[in-house]
């Protein structure tokens, strides 16, 4: 299957996503610049982490108006798979492709380090090969990662199973100490109602090799590849 990584001015985890797909997963991947208007024949679009447009004003707010975004939106609406990581998650919420918003970390500091995530729904393309309640060790690196969604909407996404990952401690419990940024209900990642667009603050693309501290991020990418294989080449779209 074919991966595309969108590059905005100020993206900087584009390289990490690219290398993971190319060197570890051995799948074809290409960069797509923000100032084009087609995503080509990609099967999965990754919106990578970084600081698009410096994250000035609000994280992801300016990138969301880039020239490439209508194509991403159209792709998403027609069922294409879109994964937003960190800044990419912020862009997707700003664009309204995912519910909620990401605000300043509760403690006001940038935070980099390993956290644990619990898989909350393993029936989406992004969590397909995981087991429900699997615990993944994945790094975070963000200053604006506190997930917020208004109360009615929160109920709705919880009921719909749109919460994909929650911050937990190493034993898998949802606790306040395990919440690195103050996210509501410890939510680390969500998907849209139909499950084809997902976003998370942690960086699975940084957790693809033992020497980097964890390989647990691979499950997300392998899920997509598996899901896609099952769906059959050329199906969908």
């Amino acid at each position: 299957m074919k991966f595309a990584v969108i590059v905005f001015p100020g993206s900087n985890c584009d390289l990490d996503a690219y290398h993971l797909v190319q060197d570890i997963l051995n799948e074809p991947v290409e960069y797509i610049r923000h100032d084009t208007d087609s995503i080509g024949d990609a099967d999965l679009v990754i919106i990578p982490g970084g600081f698009s447009y410096g994250d000035y004003l609000r994280s992801g707010a300016i990138a969301r108006f880039s020239r490439i975004m209508p194509a991403v939106t159209e792709f998403a609406q027609s069922g294409g798979l879109v994964l937003g990581i960190c800044n990419g998650f912020q862009v997707l919420t700003e664009a309204g492709l995912l519910p909620g918003a990401l605000i300043r970390n509760r403690h006001l500091q940038f935070r980099c380090g390993q956290v644990y995530l619990r898989v909350e729904n393993n029936s989406t393309p992004f969590t397909f090969t995981a087991t429900r309640s699997d615990i993944l060790k994945i790094p975070i690196a963000h200053g604006d990662g506190s997930y917020y969604v208004p109360p009615e909407k929160l109920q709705e996404i919880e009921d719909n199973g749109q919460v994909l990952f929650r911050y937990v401690n190493s034993s898998g419990e949802v606790t306040d100490e395990a919440n690195p940024n103050g996210s509501i209900n410890n939510i680390a990642g969500v998907c849209n109602k139909s499950g084809n667009v997902a976003g998370l603050m942690p960086h699975p693309e940084r957790a693809g090799e033992r020497i980097l501290g964890s390989e647990d991020g691979l499950v997300i990418f392998k899920s997509v590849i598996n899901y896609f294989g099952k769906k059959g080449v050329g199906a969908g779209d």
Binding site: I62, F65, E94, A101, I103, R104, L108, Y148, P150, G182
Partner: protein
């Protein structure tokens, strides 16, 4: 004509404002114990050309809604005046 728009973007009441909380507690530590509540938001000044105040106003409203604020978490308000040079 040139207009100066002042836009205030504030977090919605229901959204936790960690900066506001931090400022409030610093103020308390500094001895300003009579301060009861602090909210921190954004303040933007824009200079724009528009034929009249209504046009300027409509545009500022639109820009605030689309870019300057995020309606999921923020409210905005603005005022417009003629820009002295």
């Amino acid at each position: 004509m040139k207009w100066l728009a002042k836009v205030e973007v504030t977090l919605k009441q229901a959204v936790l404002d960690p900066q506001g909380v931090a400022v409030e507690s610093s103020l308390t530590t500094m001895g300003y114990e009579n301060v009861k509540r602090v909210r921190v938001g954004k303040y933007l000044e824009l200079v724009l050309e528009a034929a009249d105040r209504d046009k300027a106003s409509a545009q500022v409203e639109e820009m605030s809604r689309r870019l300057l604020s995020n309606p999921v978490i923020e409210d905005f308000s603005y005022s417009i005046q003629e820009a002295g040079v």
